[in-house]
Every structure is written in structure tokens, then in C-alpha cells.
Symmetry: C2
Subunit: 647 residues, 2 copies
Amino acid sequence: MKLSIAAAIGLLALSLTEAAKTGSIKANPLPKPVNINWESSGRIHIGDLKYHGPRNEVLVKAFDRTASYIKKKWVPQSWEAPMPEWPKVPSTLPRDLGKRGDDDGDVDDDVEVENGRHRGAVNRVNVKVDDSEADLQHGVDESYNLKVTTDGTINIKAKTIWGALHAFTTLQQIVISDNGRNLFIEQPVTIDDVPKYTHRGVMYDTARNFIPIKNLKKQVEALAFSKLNVFHWHITDSQAWPLEIKHKDYRAFTRGAYSHREIYTQEHVRDLVKFARAHGVRVIPEIDMPAHSNKGWASVDPKTVACGDSWWSNDVWEHHSAVQPNPGHLDISYPGTYKILGQIFPEIAGLFKDDIFHVGFDELMPNCYEYSALTREWFDKNPGVTYNDLAQIWVNNTVEPIFKKSARRLMMWEDSVLFPAMHADIPKDVIMQSWNNGVDNIHALVKKGYDVVVTSADFFYLDCGHGGYVTNDARYNQQYKPPMNETLTKAFDAVAEYNNPYSPTLTNYGGAGASWCAPYKTWQRIYSYDFTWGLNDEEAKKVIGGEAAMWAEQVDATNLDTKVWPRAAALAELLWSGNRDSKGDKRTTELSARIFEFRERLVDLGLNASPLVPKFCIQNPHQCDLYKDQNVFAASDKAQDKARLEL
Amino acid sequence: MKLSIAAAIGLLALSLTEAAKTGSIKANPLPKPVNINWESSGRIHIGDLKYHGPRNEVLVKAFDRTASYIKKKWVPQSWEAPMPEWPKVPSTLPRDLGKRGDDDGDVDDDVEVENGRHRGAVNRVNVKVDDSEADLQHGVDESYNLKVTTDGTINIKAKTIWGALHAFTTLQQIVISDNGRNLFIEQPVTIDDVPKYTHRGVMYDTARNFIPIKNLKKQVEALAFSKLNVFHWHITDSQAWPLEIKHKDYRAFTRGAYSHREIYTQEHVRDLVKFARAHGVRVIPEIDMPAHSNKGWASVDPKTVACGDSWWSNDVWEHHSAVQPNPGHLDISYPGTYKILGQIFPEIAGLFKDDIFHVGFDELMPNCYEYSALTREWFDKNPGVTYNDLAQIWVNNTVEPIFKKSARRLMMWEDSVLFPAMHADIPKDVIMQSWNNGVDNIHALVKKGYDVVVTSADFFYLDCGHGGYVTNDARYNQQYKPPMNETLTKAFDAVAEYNNPYSPTLTNYGGAGASWCAPYKTWQRIYSYDFTWGLNDEEAKKVIGGEAAMWAEQVDATNLDTKVWPRAAALAELLWSGNRDSKGDKRTTELSARIFEFRERLVDLGLNASPLVPKFCIQNPHQCDLYKDQNVFAASDKAQDKARLEL
């Protein structure tokens, strides 16, 4: 009897029995642990889980969540199994016809060896933590050891409570049921686990559209469940300032929110930070400056904003004052900017617990500053100065005098040092977040000596591929696909066209749909990224992790979950234990079952995580593979490595 | 004071006051009525709405829904206003700096003329329907007249109750509030409205993933709210058969469902049909045959399914037995197929009220039939016969003998007559649904004499652009964007590459992301489609309407709303009153405000409709336009018409 048929008729219990016979394991946690060794003596029954460990509040509460989750008795929805055998292809008409699958529905009731306590009994969970005081900060030890013995005891050892929390998450994913009544772990198991990268996160933009705290909390739950540890909060942008400022002179900042209901009070912020911490997730705030600034500032003092009232001006690209609507940069030449910043920055920084504060610094548009009379005066008075000199003034006036007084370590977008039109000299202890040009920019930053967080738009941008959001965009008004004639061939010859998302030729009919970073990044795309390619071991250490970015031009509470999940889980595994198997080959195809299962669990947790496939593909492992050949990823790596080295 | 600033600080009441001064109207219903004439004598106060009209249950209940909705007191979130004036671009450094907007926050309290009853009073809604008995079927009169007089009386006239329901929907969208307490219609108004097309719908696929009835009902509400009148239900496909069959010999069909919880009982179906009818929405069922068939059939009698156990075989394209996993066609050569179909088809048809039944007929793969011994025998015994002859046997054995006995009119995918590899002669009274090759196929079908429903994948497919769903797909493993060298230029020269979504060259970096119908169809794309281009008036009449298609490979209850809405609203207006203004120019940009507002109302109705833009763009009309020039759509039409006529 084929698994596919059993599954399709909903006999999951049967499937599990089948699977047990083959010795395979159904409950493979995501991210895949670095070391996981299943024994073969048979099931460990799980009854009530009883905690024995340090009286640490974070730990005890996390254990309670784990135990409650497990009690709901999860029946696996997806599991890994080998590519099925297929009948031979009929080569000419009267040839051997492939046999049909046996669909008799018989249940094979092999009795299995079962270990551990009887149902209703208690499984002791021994939790040992070396240092219960270690703070949740960048670089804290997150390793853990989880051992499930034949007598049903569960032993967890970790250096810190943050490692122990990860052990609980793993435990949540290996205790399963086959009928919704019993609970078991498939085999005794030993797991030794430690993340490859220390910085693993998702960036949430709450400025383009507001997202309520309750939805952000759900994200935190999902981050923790996938062992991601950073909630990078892009709080403000030119479109809106939703963050409450209590300083008596600057309460008007939230007049830059979309409405009085779309504001994060300071109580909200503290609540989110506390909730995240309880889940082992760090909240890194970002106030994007000096570009991407308008709302809020404009209400407090309009003089702080350069080009705030300009037309962002795509009609004449040479006149553009912004990369997107609405324009606005903080006026670097206006002293009031620093006065206000110097007073609100400590207040904002005080709301957060993390050592790291992100101060933006992406996409400074020189044209914007042409709208500032003060800046034009400065140019007039200082012949020979450049936009880079202007950017340097920003750095000199902010990094030491303001930022470092309240934030232990800074993080910036790579533009601060790499953006051709306008950049500056930045201290080498600033963490650089790379979003452009894939490994080329990562290399450039590493060579300059920076620690790097990878958010390459070609792999990790979750917003791409949904078309543009700008209105009055006639590129969509392409009524027919031009036939492949000489004209079109010429168009393709034009290199500029290929690389220009504003090209009408490539907007529709297989093109980018006016999404500048199209196409949509699928979970396979995200997982495939070898972002340290070409770095030596020493250089690779400068890459401290990665983040997916959820830019919110077309995202709010209605579709946040579905855009982030389960794709971020592919990133989670990539950053935790990598994307390769013990042979060094890409294990993307093996991840299929894990991420399908993880998605079902996210839905169970209350998130609207997107389905990745027809449920048929979940219930029938590998039957939705594009190629029967299971080595296509390894082959494609080999071919590309060769081609790239030849460049 | 600029509207943008008022809006950004949340003073919607202020914005409305501003707007009233300019004489513009905020509450523009979607779809835009064919004729709408606003007067200028001022607000009509709205109190309790009291129904005076026929005692028809559908009508009275619909009125009650409308009155309840209005009572919630909607404050508009979006409105149309002209492109703002912008300061002059500073051409060199010491030049005139544009003035900054006035942000003094003063409220202009102009007293307005107000008509109608005082607050708390009753507004009489006179509803006159000529024929309360007209059934909800294709072609039923849906026109209505809605008149709001200065004394606050609302007069609705319609030929049928289905037209009156549309009048209610319009009424829902023109009664607004500016403070959440009062209620008014901005001006006296007269609306004469009638749809351009009789068939206006969305296709829902519930086979690739199951979607619960409660979610489908929410879709019905949104369809009705946008005056779409067809819920095309693609119930079954090769991956799953979720529909309960009660015939004693064939109860095993639902063993082809994903689980016992993922089944539509016949009670569910009747409930949905009734719910839809109460909302003026027709449910057209589709059982996709003879291709796209496997699950369900395989459980009842495996011999009915050809190639059900074959590998779908993209490794060797010549061997492919399916366009997607999993394979399966009904075996045309097996008599048992017709025996079963003849018994279940009347049962299924009996669950629905609509005259039209869709019997599929898309994507017949000749290779699939090579896996059927009976079909191979038939080929052997009948030298010279073709796959088309095989398809014709299907038609001869089903259309008259089975389908027409239970369904008054049939609908099929265009493949039945246009698919090159395998098609048949089909009676001319069958409605053809066109999904391929844009207007070329529409023309071909019209020339053959068929009525056509337009679902062109290049414009109306809602699933496109989210990447492929197949696993083991190494096309995503493209680590770097090849530099534009000779090799790549040559690749672009290859026409085949351009048109092949399986091309690795164009999967990533601006390519299609392995989505065969990429890119994502934005609302502007959907709305722009001139699907009767090139047809004369007589031919154009054969186009009876259109449908958006929500194929569900990557859709279920978690993300159904967000994928369909508000994009389907762009289709709704296109099919109701077209995409052009009184001058004949495309009014896509004008639709912006309507569709933004409509989206907010959908969210209020309880749907997770996607945000289309940063809220900034909603609150600041035209500030997110790509071009300042408001005639770019008209210009692009002109250019394309010229180019196309020259082809």
C-alpha cells in the first residue's frame, strides 16, 4: 500500500504505522538541529510533563507554554519519505502498462516496541542551566542539549536560559500523536544544537502601514517557535511616525501618525519588549534617519525636513527628490534637527533593552537637499564640498554626540558607506545591514572591516513580487504581448532594459510587474542563499547573521502573517544550521516536509501562515517535485560555482 | 491648508469640510455607476431608514442588511482630489525655494446648507420592483434607479429584485459620516445604473486546498458588495474530491478528500447556494472533466482514471503526463466512467439552482491516455484515429447523454475547442471560458460562434506571481545575477527563453520566479484590460462577461481574502461600467480613491482584504502617483492602438 493513498483518505495513524516500519522519523523539528541522533528501540510515551529546574520566571513560563502546547496533541501533517517508485513510461502504444497502486485500505496493525511511562503518567523534564543570569543580547550562548531516554525522562542542558528556551521549542515539535489521544516521541533521541549565526531575525516596517501590537506579538511567537531571535522594528519612515514621544516639547510627533488609533504608546512598546524577551526574542528598534524622515518631524518643526513638500518626481528622473513617495530627509544643515534629536533619542532608546539601536541611513537623495535653503547656503559658502561631506556632518553631529550616549552599539543600512551618491566615513564598530547587490556588497563591507547582517533584497525581501503600489502607473496598460519580432529582440538586446524595473517591455508577460525587486522570494529561494560564498573563514566570521525584511507598503494586520510565514522559517533554518546536508549538498528538497509541517503548526498557533502547496503535496511526499532527480540542487551548485569562478 | 496635512493628522471631519467647499464628492461607490448626477444644494441628513416596498423575503432581508450596515456610520478613508500643486524644482543651487505647506491646523467651520430630515428622524426608502418573480439567472435585468431628494426621501426603482439589491449596495456606499455620529448623503443625487456585462464573477478553486463554507460565504458578501454576480465554484480537481456524493454505490468519492473534515456535505452546498442567492450571487458549479480528474474517482473505481499513478515527469518533458502534479484524466475508453458519471451528475446538478453547469475540459494531455490499456487498444484497433477523435468520444458520450439531461446550459474551458494537442467539436450553445492568449483566443472563440466569458491569465489570474509551488526546484538556486556579458545577451536573443517560465535565466533577478503566469496582476493591470479590442459591435456582444480566477495551489482559508480582495473589485467595475471616462480615456487613476475606500469597507465587513498602498497614499490623493501627468493611460492607449494596428 502506498503512503500517498493512505494519506489522501485521511488515515494518518496508518501512515505513521507505515513510517515506523521503515524506521524513518516523522517529527523533524525546524530548524533542523545541528546534531540529532534518533535511536531505534521504539516510542516513548509522554504523559504529563513535569518541570525540574531553576526557578527562573522566563524559563518556568516558557516551560508552561511548551507543556500546554504539547497537551493539544499534534498529529503530524507532513513527513519526509523517499521519492516513490513509478511505473515505466509507455514508450509506444502496445507496451507494458505500469501497475496501479493497491488501494485496498487494509490497516497493518504491527505492534511496535514502546518505551517510557504509560499514558497518564508523568515525564520528568530535567532542566539544567549553567548561567541563569546571562542577558539576552547579541552573542549570548544559545546552545542546548536535549536527551530523551528510554525510560521517558527528558534531560535538557543549556548554558543560558535562552538556550533552554530553544530546547523547549524543539521538544514542542518532537512530541506528537497519531490519533489525537495518545502522545509520544517516536524514538529515544539525543540532540546537540547550537546556531551557526548569532543574529537571526525579521525586520517589520510599521510606518508604511500601522500594525497593532497584538499582531506584532503573534509574530514574536512565530519567531521564537522557529528559533529566530531578532525582531528588528523599523518603527518610523517618511510616511508616518507612530511612536509616542512624551517630551513636553515634542508631543506633536504623533501628529505624524495615520490617526490617533494608529499610535504605539510607550506602554505598548514596553509591553512588546517584555513579551519578546519572555520568548527569547530581542527587539532592535530602528528610527530611520536622516533620509526616510518627514512625518512627525514636520509636525514638531517643519524646518527639520528637507524636500518634504516636493513632488517625488519620477516624470523627470533627474529631478527626483525621493526613491518613493513621500519625500523627506532630515535637514542636516539645520541646528534644530540635532536639538530635537538630542532630546528624543535618549527617550526612545530608554524604551528598549537591547544593546543595539538601528539608526537607518539608507537612500540619501542629494536632490532632496537642494530643497533646503540652509543646505544650499552651505554649499555656496564652502566651494568644493560634496554631498559626502554633507553626510559626514550628519555623522559627526549624531554618532558620538547623540546616538552613542544612549545606545551601546549602532546598526545602519550599508548605504551609509556604500551608496554612491551620498555616503560617509562610519566608525568600524557599527553593524552594517546589507540589502543590495548580493554577495558583492557583503564582500565590500567585510573588506572594510564591518560586521554584517545579511538582508539581500534578491533573497530575503518578503515584499517583492506583488507589483508596484504607486498609482497612475500606465506601465500596466500593456494590452498585448508583442510578438517576438525584430523590434522586441532589439529591446532585449538593450542591457539597460534588462536591469530596469520601470521598463514597460518587462512589466507584464513574464516580467517584473513593476515590482523593483521582483520576483517573489519563495521559501526555496530564501533557503538557497550562500551568502558567505567567496569569503575565507576569517572574513565569513564578520557575517554575524541575517534578517528577512517585511517592508509594509502593501502589508498591514490583514496580511502580515501570510507574507512573513512560513517563508521566514526557511531563513530560520538557513541561519541556525545552514542549508546543506552532511555530504555538503543543499538540502532544500528535504526541507519541504519540515516547512510544510511547520506551516501547519503556525496555523495551529493562530497565525494566517500561507499554504505553500496543494495539501496533496503535503500528504504525498515528493509527488510535487519538479524533477525526479533528487540531486538537482547539488548539480546546480556545482555548475554555478564553476561558472562564477570563471568570471 | 492642504488636504494631505489635514488627513495625516487624522482630521477627517476637517477634510470633508474642505471637500464640501470645492463641491467634490467623497462617497463614490464602486463600481462607478453608469450615470450618477450629484446636485449641489447640500447634505441630506439620514436618520432611520424605513423600507416601503414589496414584501419579498430576499428584498426585505437585503434591505435590513443595508440599514444595519449604514447604522455603523462609516467615515470615508479615501477620496478623490486633484493632483496638488508642487513647488518649482530648484534648478541650480541659489534659486527660488518652493514654499512649504501651511500646517496651522485651523479648522474652517463654514456652515453648509443641509437638507432632509433632522437627525433621529426617518428616511423613507421607497422600493419599486416591476417583476418580483424574475429568477436569478444569466441575463436577468439588474438595472436600477436610485434617487435621493432634498427632502431626504430615497426612491429606488428596479425591474427585478436583483437590480434593487444593487441599489441597496450603492446606497450603503453613499451614506457616510464625518464624525462617527451623524449620517448623511453629501448631496441630492440621481443614479441610473445597469451593468455592461451580464456574467461577472470570481472562480474559486476548492480542490487544490480546501476552503471552509464560512470563508466562501464571506466571499459571497464581498462579491455582492462589488456587484459581482457569479461565484464560479471549481469544486474538484485531480488533487482532491471534497464533494459529498450520496448515491449508495459511490459514497467513496469523498475518500478523495484531504480528510473527513475537509468535505462539503450536500447540506453545506445547499446552504451556500441559498446564502449566495440571498445576496444576488449565482453559484455556477464546475466538475473538471475529463482531465484534472483523479481523487474521488480513484477511490470509487481506479479503472476510471488514466495515468493516475504516473510520474508527472518534467524531467523529460516529452514524457509528461500532466501539466502539474498530480496526474489523472478520466479514461474515455472505459465504459464504467460513463456509468458512474451518469449516476452522480444528476445528483450534483440537483444541488444547484443555476441554469449553467461548468464541465471543465481544460488541458487534456495525450500522454496521459498512453497509460490506459483500453485507450491503447482503441488506437490499435482504429488505425488513423487521433487524440481529437478520442476527445470527441468524450463529448459524444457525455454532452447529450448525461450533461444536458440535468443542466440547462453548459460552460467549458476554451481548451475544449482550441487546445492544439487534443480538442473536439463542441455544440455552439456551450459558453466558452477563455484563459489563454488574451484577445487572440477571445477572437477565435467569437469567430467560431461561442459566447465567451473572459478569464485571460495575463490579466485576471489572481494566483500569479507568487512563485512556483513545486518542490525540488533548483531554478531558485541562482546565487548571483550574471553580468551583462555576451553570453547573457545571447540568452536574451533566444526567443524561446523569453517565453519559457522554466528558463533558469529568467527565474530570478527580475524574472518570473518560476510562476508560469507571472507577474502578479495588480488592480491597475486587471482594470486596464480592453478585452473586446478589435471586435466589431456584433462580435463584442458574444463576450458575455468575465471572471477572475483564484486557483488555490497556494491558497486556503488563511489567505483567500487577501489574494482576492480588493483586486476583484477592479474587475467588478471593469465589467459593470467599464474602465473609461466620459471622454473615452482610461480612468484607472480615478479608480484609486474608490478602490482604496472599497478596501477599507471590506476590512470593516470582516474580510482580510489586502492594503494596496501605504495609508499615506490614501490620505493624500495623487501623492503616490508614478507620474504627475494625469493623462499617461490615455497616451499609452493611443500608442498601443497605433502599434497594434500596424502589426
